[in-house]
């Protein structure tokens, strides 16, 4: 019986959600950043997930058959991409980064969107910790057999 596979799956999700949360906090922190080392305003970054067939699937193949094997998948961050939305233009001639016409290019970040995304990441993280808790309880219960 391999109880640790569950930990690996839930662990991969915890890691992915953590990366997502880091990206969101980076977006929120830079919501007013008008100049970056790359030039121009900060661009919103988004995390994209994909399923992950971690090496444990090899192990599963031997005792679960290929059909069930495909059903057990982790998750990972496939890539982090910059949003292609144009920057918001705000009229503020006194701003040091203002252009000739007095407009400042602000990051393409919606605080509201980031906050809802953050809630979603938190809830997902919590759901996966519950999975870990449940797996742990089952493992401990199995150790009680014959006690």
């Amino acid at each position: 019986m391999d109880i640790f596979t569950t930990f690996k799956i839930a662990g991969s999700a915890l890691k992915a959600q953590r990366i997502r949360l880091n990206t969101i906090s980076s977006n929120l922190a830079n919501v007013e950043t008008t100049s970056t080392p790359e030039g121009g305003p900060y661009k919103k970054k988004s995390v994209y997930f994909e399923t992950q067939n971690i090496p444990f699937s090899e192990h599963l193949k031997s005792n679960m058959g290929s059909e069930a094997d495909k059903a057990v998948q982790g998750v990972r961050v496939a890539r982090i991409l910059e949003d292609q939305d144009p920057p918001q233009r705000i009229y503020n001639p006194t701003h040091p980064d203002a252009g000739e016409d007095g407009y400042v290019e602000m990051p393409n970040i919606s605080v509201l969107k980031e906050m809802t995304d953050m809630m979603s990441a938190t809830r997902s993280y919590e759901a996966n910790t519950t999975v870990v808790k449940s797996a742990k309880r089952m493992a401990l219960k199995a150790l009680e057999i014959g006690r």
């Binding site: 019986m1 391999d2 109880i3 596979t5 569950t6 799956i9 839930a10 991969s12 999700a13 992915a16 994209y48 997930f49 994909e50 399923t51 599963l60 679960m64 058959g65 059909e67 069930a68 495909k70 059903a71 057990v72 998948q73 982790g74 998750v75 979603s120 809830r123 997902s124 759901a127 996966n128 519950t130 999975v131 449940s134 797996a135 309880r137 089952m138 219960k141 199995a142 009680e144 057999i145 014959g146 006690r147």
Partner: protein, 136 residues
Amino acid sequence: MELTHFDTTMKLLQKVLDLRSKNQRVISSNIANAETPGYAPASMSFESQLRDVMHGPTLRPVTTRPGHLTVSPASLDEIQGSITRHPDRTGIGDENGVSVEEEMMKLSENQLLYEAAVTMLNKKLALLKYTANDGK
């Protein structure tokens, strides 16, 4: 591990524990991928296969020639559980069919039934110990 010296109930409980821990992996995979675009959640069922092995199948396919394959598993050892994928057909969002609420319910149900099976197994073993100790 094979408990050959014990009765059918014990073998059944052993198989149930095995299948429940596999089911746990399938459910945790669904929860982990709750936000992966295009992910189709999987569900595992084995209850009817268990019932068929214990009480005989409700619909037994007839094997009239030696080459015919049997459809349902003939013994406890053969039960693998069957996996069904449920792709999202709503056409909205990112084609992810996972319902976290449903998966969490399945998770706690699976966990409780696993613990129930362990408790039953312990009862059986305690009984065996009692007999082995001359009822002391």
